[in-house]
Symmetry: D2
Subunit: 341 residues, 4 copies
């Protein structure tokens, strides 16, 4: 339900209503400024009339979710680069930033296909203490140089709030991985950041919980959130995860955030990446995150799901056709690929 | 592994090998006629040399799965109607055959959009004894007449081997529902049928188990099996099932059977049917099974996931564009819609 | 909600109410005889007053589920053998009836520990056409002889309604396997049988669907249904299934049927059988179904989850202690084990 | 496999082997000191002989997992309080520390039943910005005072590495919640702590991943880890989670850490808490974590799964009997309950 507070309702009145709803077990949200709306989903049902009688309440209506206040899904990520409009936002790169040379090769391939973002991990969330942990700050700067040489944005995963100052200086978009979707401390900190946040779905998160996490970032001050479907965990073992393509149109209908898809983690199998990328676009995705590597079989991590550079080019060329069939387009490369790339 | 038997190996020798492999826990299959191949997946590993020494064995090779013996996925369902080739096989209809008039209206709409099959249930697998159980034989004949009036094939669900003689007389394709995918008695009987079998995925079946069920029908004599993805059961409650679009390209790579998709049961939500139908085609599906109803909100069952006839037309028109983008096509309507439809 | 019909309400009035509720998508049930109660769970909500105004309706109350009409869970399976009371009903045996001698050895061990039932499969629901399919009728008679020699009931799985006449002649309890829990044709037929039915949970069935299937058998005339938890399919691969112990107390609170547990299929791992059997009893189970084999490593099927006879004896002795701690007991062996067993 | 390094093998040789294994996708671990053992699970298989030829390698053997080096599961948490031995470690408390008085009432009830730990959240990981976020440091001190008054340990959840200094000063055991099981930054930091860590299972974590997370803490220097099963996410909606009781005996066999169970979050339903607590003990759990509240229906969070204080006493009294049946015991209360409690 939506509780609309009176003009001038005091903070005490507002938090009184919030508390009563939250105590009943509801998922409660309130709009940020001006007229205060409080939405409650779930929880103990209470007669609307009882709520309407609380101090400060103007009206109570059935319904749900406070609108995030943006009339469109389109979001500017950097001058000239948007997501959520007609142009698709394609981001690609290796799982890990492994070295300067390979990042340049990858960046060249991404830019040459009309991609707008270069993605690689500098900090890897490995539970095993002996797996490759990433190159850290050095990796981020490598990524920055490679992206700059080809006019791309840098997208990289943040693991901890402590990394925010450094990453905000170097990157253009901060990714929150599936394992951190419920990490409220990190989400809250990202609410204070001025960078867009690319929030992956937790591997056992419902669509509602995922939207809730995005709204949490927005409610803390940063509405520039992108969602990215990357598969959920099910009983099926033929794929690494089960990519929930239906989440894409669901999100487009229920939340104001642009929606990307990651068919690499979504399937874990190289041969499924292109068909699932096409499926995601056909279902309405605003962009893609794809793992590519110049030599996938020598990748330090996740090689089995990475396309090589030729495979990536072929895939994007098939995506152009599907995009056209759903009134979207893959951008043309900004300029001819520089000779030295 | 594949065990190749000698020409003229006796049945006793063959079953000796099969038994040894099966006792080790392997999933064992043998090819039907002529040269006998036995494939074993899983189970206790045994040295190839030991198996090669068994009576009647010609050779033993690593690898898996006896080929189903068809060089192409394309399958003729009726004169002039194929599935698995360039043309997509679109089937639509109401959940239940509810009456003569509505079936004619639906059949006209299906034919007018280039669909090739009319599907409705005459026997409904309801666990509740008081839910609508279907019209039975009467419903099948209604379906037949409506399909004939518009040049369509009849697709309907078989629940029990005892229904086979009647249904084989009336229908063109027999559907096995998700709840019966593991019903070996029914599958074995369908192995003796001369009709194509449309085998839906069980709601908790892995892709491998599903292929196994299709091969079971084939091994009993009927290789004309179509697979249909209809969603699996996961923790997500925003959709009725989680449609596993990645199963489509997986199946195309691993089995010789054409692959359809059912976005109606796959999602359970009307507004997701068209985007998921597009996604399925973009991922390579050979056709679709879609629930439509002249008045979805008055449907006796599954109205919430049914499109109305206008919605269906619009969806198919969007599908034509996506089909073109992946080198497939939705057939043109065979003839102008008859005046009386 | 519960709709209470007037004394003398006609069948047409009753089915009118049922139809209206079912059309709204509710799960509808009606009580068998005398005063007619109709319960509806789920579906479109309609004002109670509207329903109360329908012809033949006496009253409409919030609430759910028509009581099955038995004041107690206790059920007599055969003279002197009950389930659902203080005494636990222990059933054990090999996955398949493999031969006369081994069945006698198993039956002797079962009886010597206070077990009441001998279970083995004579028809095996294997999807692979070359796996061991069971000994069929011959196996059933072997089972009968072994059970009779040791005063045990015969429990065996029925795969198809066509097997009912033969199995009803030979067996004491008919098991419906997980793969057939949704097989309404089989369930309906078992509603006409005079034997108790042991209904295993489908591998992706919710507790509510499972109760619905049991009530379906009861509604067709056979209220003697036992439920058996055997694990559900989840993402966890360390066990064959995830045994849902919480289903046991849930069922005891929500349905009138006795509840057994099968820790062999529930876990698929021999070393987990005894601890999970203890857990099931501690949670309130009325009995157990356990796979045992004189030589598990030579079993034709499911050896990895079978206990040997000594392991079974040890387990039952630990169960006696746990049973005592929850006010239940494992029966004493009826008589000293016969010399010739 | 286990790779045994030569005495005196250099760090470079050791990390060379680790890197080769990790690149192949294996889960790699190495033992801490003295003779260096490297274990690799999964990943690309390589001939043992190839690995045996690497510099510094003494031998290569099939097998898995470097032993954690403790001969027993028993762990001293504080003077006189152990977990993993004959005595069960019972911890209880409200979801949130709500106030001084209620914490004293709860602590008195816990101590009076033989419990050893008082648990409550001071920081709550709520994704909704308007749900009750916990009392923070103030709540921790309240908890400390209530625990001290009744001779109990303080167990509370840490959400972020930044909270470690404060929490290490006030608490006795730090809980890592299900949402943070994969938070490697937090786990690494806890590896440096001198407090025991109670690591809950992630809601979609396999048993192997969970053990991996515990070993990650241990590998960073803190081997005092307790595991706590709290249910996994499945398709079943009748319970909040599906409590995987079989994980308890699995863990006892595969890892050196004590294992607790949380039937409150595991089920989300008050009436299932006691039967599931009994089941967990019968399956071998070393202790329990249970939510209790003086007035569950007025709890600020999770009231539906909380027992009241009388319910808790009754449950513990039933647990004493089950404990006895599996050769464990619930400790007696240390002393008569103080008058002022």
């Amino acid at each position: 339900m939506i509780v609309r507070m009176r003009q001038g309702a005091g903070e005490e009145e507002i938090s009184g209503v919030v508390r009563i709803l939250a105590e009943g077990g509801a998922h409660v949200q309130r709009s940020g400024r001006g007229e205060v709306l409080i939405s409650a989903d779930g929880g103990t049902e209470r007669p609307l009339a009882v709520l309407a009688a609380l101090p400060g309440v103007a009206s109570v209506e059935p319904g749900s979710r406070v609108p995030a206040g943006r009339g469109t899904r389109e979001l500017e990520l950097a001058p000239g680069v948007t997501v959520g409009g007609r142009e698709l936002f394609l981001v690609a790169g290796p799982c890990s930033a492994e070295g300067e040379e390979m990042l340049h090769a990858v960046a060249a391939a991404v830019a040459a296909s009309g991609g707008r973002g270069l993605r690689a991990g500098a900090y890897k969330p490995r539970t095993s203490p002996y797996a490759f942990q990433g190159l850290g700050e050095e990796g981020l700067w490598m990524l920055r140089r490679a992206a700059d040489a080809h006019g791309l944005l840098v997208v990289s995963e943040i693991l901890d709030a402590g990394q925010l100052p450094l990453m905000a200086e170097i990157c253009d978009v901060l990714q929150v991985g599936a394992r951190n979707m419920h990490n409220t401390v990190l989400l809250r900190e990202l609410g204070t950041a001025r960078l867009p946040v690319l929030l992956k779905r937790g591997m056992a998160a419902t669509v509602e919980e995922w939207i809730g996490a995005a709204e949490y970032v927005a409610a803390h001050g940063n509405p520039r959130v992108l969602l990215c479907e990357r598969g959920i965990r099910t009983f099926e073992t033929a794929t690494r995860n089960t990519m929930d393509i239906s989440a894409i149109p669901l999100l487009l209908g229920r939340s104001p955030f642009p929606v990307l898809a990651d068919p690499s983690h979504g399937t874990g199998r190289r041969e499924l990446v292109a068909p699932m990328a096409r499926a995601a676009l056909a279902a309405g995705a605003d962009g893609l995150l794809v793992e590519i590597h110049p030599e996938p079989d020598r990748a330090l991590s996740d090689g089995a799901q990475s396309l090589d550079l030729d495979g990536y080019r072929e895939m994007v060329s098939s995506l152009r056709r599907v995009a056209g069939a759903v009134d979207r387009e893959v951008p043309e490369p900004a300029a001819p690929e520089p000779a030295g790339a």
